[in-house]
Amino acid sequence: MTMQDTIPRAALSRRALLKGTGALVVGFHLAGPLGQALAQAGSAAAKPVTLDQVDTFLSIDGRGLVTIYSGKVDLGTGVQSALAQMIADELDVPDARVTVIQGDTALTPDQGPTYGSLSLQNGGVQIRQAAATARDALLTEAAKRLGVAKADLAVVDGAIGPRAGGPTVTYAELIGGRRFDLKLDPAAPTKKPADYKLVGRAMARRDVPDKILGRFTYMQDFRVPGMLHGRVVHPPALGARLEAVDEGSIKGIPGIVQVVRQGNFLGVVASNEWAAIRGARDLKTTWSKSETLPDQARLWEHVRATKVVKDDVTSNVGDAAAAMRGEGRKLAASYDFAIHTHGSIGPSCAIAEFKDGKLTSWSASQATHNLRKQLAQMLAMPQEAVHCLYVEGSGCYGRNGHEDAAADAALLARAVGRPVRVQWSRADEHGWDPKGPPTLIDLRANLDSSGGVAAWESEFFIPQGAAGNVALVAADLAGLPNATAIAPGGIHQNSAIPYKFPNVRTVCHRLETTPFKPSWIRTPGRMQNTYANECFLDELAAAAGIDPLEYRLKYLDPADTRGIEVLDRLAKLARWEKRPSPQKAGNGAVLKGRGITYCKYELVRTYVGAVAEVEVERATGVIRVTRFYVVHDCGQIINPDGVKAQIEGNVFQTVSRTLKEELTFDRGMVTSLDWGSYPILTFPEIPELVMELIDRPAEKPWGAGEPTAAVVPSAISNAVFDATGVRLRSVPYTPAKVKAALQSA
């Protein structure tokens, strides 16, 4: 991939997006009659977006250029490049000939939101099947034209010809610019692993040079003609009512166009961005007092006292209650994991434009099809009149504020009758993005006389709800129709455990409410739940006086050889020294230890094992994670560089969460509204990372965007226990907490 390659691509998408209509995008790619027809029709309706059609996912133009239409979007993970790599390989065309259009409700299929480490596992595999169907049809057609048996044909760089040599026919000649009009065939043969040329190879990402040269257009850079700048003035407390606005207070600021008020939704629109910022900052407002939040110092009591609406029993083996009552050594512990924010470096941003009764919305939403429904609901418009386009923004690791900025922009644009760009401030993002909910977990076990686990019981106190549409801040404030259920994501996942104990019962108490509107932060639930499970298991191993790796291996299903291989390889990689924890505590000022942990993601996919090495400063309580080892099996690897980057990202982000992060709040509002009050990991604090990827080309490609985050907190907690003999059960492990724990030990 040369740098030049990426420039026309970027220019193309910019122009296409500027136009705001899908037809233009297609018009650029399809030189043939179809392209012209589409361009003339001026409507994207000509291209199907249903999941059963090959044309939904793929087109090949008269020059042999391939366009993929992906409902899953690139959140800065490089998944776009990996998709192109996967499809280029399946079709046997050079990677540079493939363009990806993503997250455009008029052009791309609804493949579900981009979350859950499913982009390649589900989204990519679906598109690959479309490509396989297309390839098979093209081979059939080529066989007819060339008079050669299909089985004797091969594809090289988009040209089909006899394996033995002879005349060829290109994809462009066979289909160029026309539709396939084919149903996606779930049985169409995909390539055999041995035939892959691109998949499994490290390939440079196509977006990277532009990002490093300052030539990439993020959502935050995107502009449309005639656009104004908007800022929202959020209430000083959740639930506060807007009692008065003194519009005269910002009269003196040049460039102010309008103060927009709808219920408690308040915004300032201006001709330039700085005027909008000043206007929002200086506007005099009066709000009612509102205190809806619990006392942070008693958060866990509050969580424990919250009404349970239902119990989800996530596993039930044998009779755990009876086995708990039996003879043996009883252990119990409670773990908690603080409320966290997503923490994107670039606050959310969106643009909205109303024209002829239609809304066009540009945002970095991870779920443009769902956003479309939500905006239509809020504005009481038919869905067909709302067009949402994805423009890549700052990395987002779950449902953050993008959709909310899109709703803000829509309300402001409607009020002023001009396109409006809304850029959230740092405080907007830290204060108003939906949060990873507080998670409280009680665990109990009964050990038999040889230290074996006779019973395991766990209770997770987590909010009700699943993945879904998270209510829009603007709709709430303006009193407009909105999603009503809370949607924290699939946070019950990994509450059940991969270990074969004779008696197990794991139950999630689903709470009616949680202090802040929740959503899925990276690795939702799986991170918090695995943390508690893997720490408690470590407690049992320590109580039994058994090496924690050996203890895990003893209880893994012997038939689950991939999991066992991960742990075996991890032991070698980390030069695991077999002995029980804690180590004999030294008397030094700095104590060193190591901890091991394991996760099978959602108990059905990606395997990760990790070892953390830590140093604990006895006097200050500071923990340094010095080295972190990961062994990772996500099946077939599409791009090893991409997988490595995901693992690195998960480790650093989650070391940050584990050691430093905690939302703070008073009775009215979040008080951690910047990076000073919500610190994250900095360069001097990063561990050295050592990893080993297990590639299984014959297996399904599983997700890599989240699983490693699940193993980080427990690896650190277990290592600190190994070093100090003190068990940390409350994330984050801030120096103050660690110091207190060391002193009371």
Binding site: Y218, G395, F652
Partner: protein, 155 residues
């Protein structure tokens, strides 16, 4: 009343019209001059996303008021540091190491590193980490960034 302000950006002298002499430099670069390199991250001088060079010194453009930019001071942004044809050695090293995930922080990482390497020869890993201690990245691209800065330092 709009005031006219002259700036020297990426080797060109440009004149912009502004209403507020204390508008931060970041908005002049992004909005008046349509540059994409310097990024808005916090507006508080805490994250480094907005970093530019002013007379070769890495500065947080989100907290530099235009009134503090003296005539003739040379401002360089990520776009002006190097070009696709002739990337700056730090940019070339970042591309070679694929040191970007979302890339939103990368402007700051490149600009901070370029200014740092210009005044520090043969830095240790700890030196590099200290130099980047006030540049935040959420994607966890730190290891790749470190590799890139080391590569640039050795080039």
């Amino acid at each position: 009343m709009a005031i006219s302000k002259s700036l020297d950006v990426n080797g060109r002298t440009v004149s912009i019209d502004i209403d507020d002499p204390d508008m931060p430099l970041l908005y002049a670069l992004r909005d008046n001059l349509a540059l994409h390199g310097p990024r808005f991250g916090c507006g508080l001088g805490q994250c480094g996303a907005c970093t530019v060079h002013v007379d070769g010194v890495a500065m947080r453009s989100c907290i530099v008021p235009l009134s503090a930019v003296a005539p003739g001071q040379k401002i360089v942004t990520l776009e002006g540091l190097g070009t696709p044809e002739k990337p700056h050695p730090v940019q070339a090293a970042f591309i070679a190491e694929q040191a970007a995930q979302c890339g939103y922080c990368i402007n700051g990482m490149v600009m901070e590193s370029a200014a740092f390497l210009a005044r520090t020869k043969g830095p240790s890993e700890a030196d590099i980490k200290a130099a980047l201690a006030n540049n935040l990245c959420r994607c966890g691209t730190h290891a790749a960034i470190l590799r890139a800065v080391k590569r640039a330092a050795a080039a």
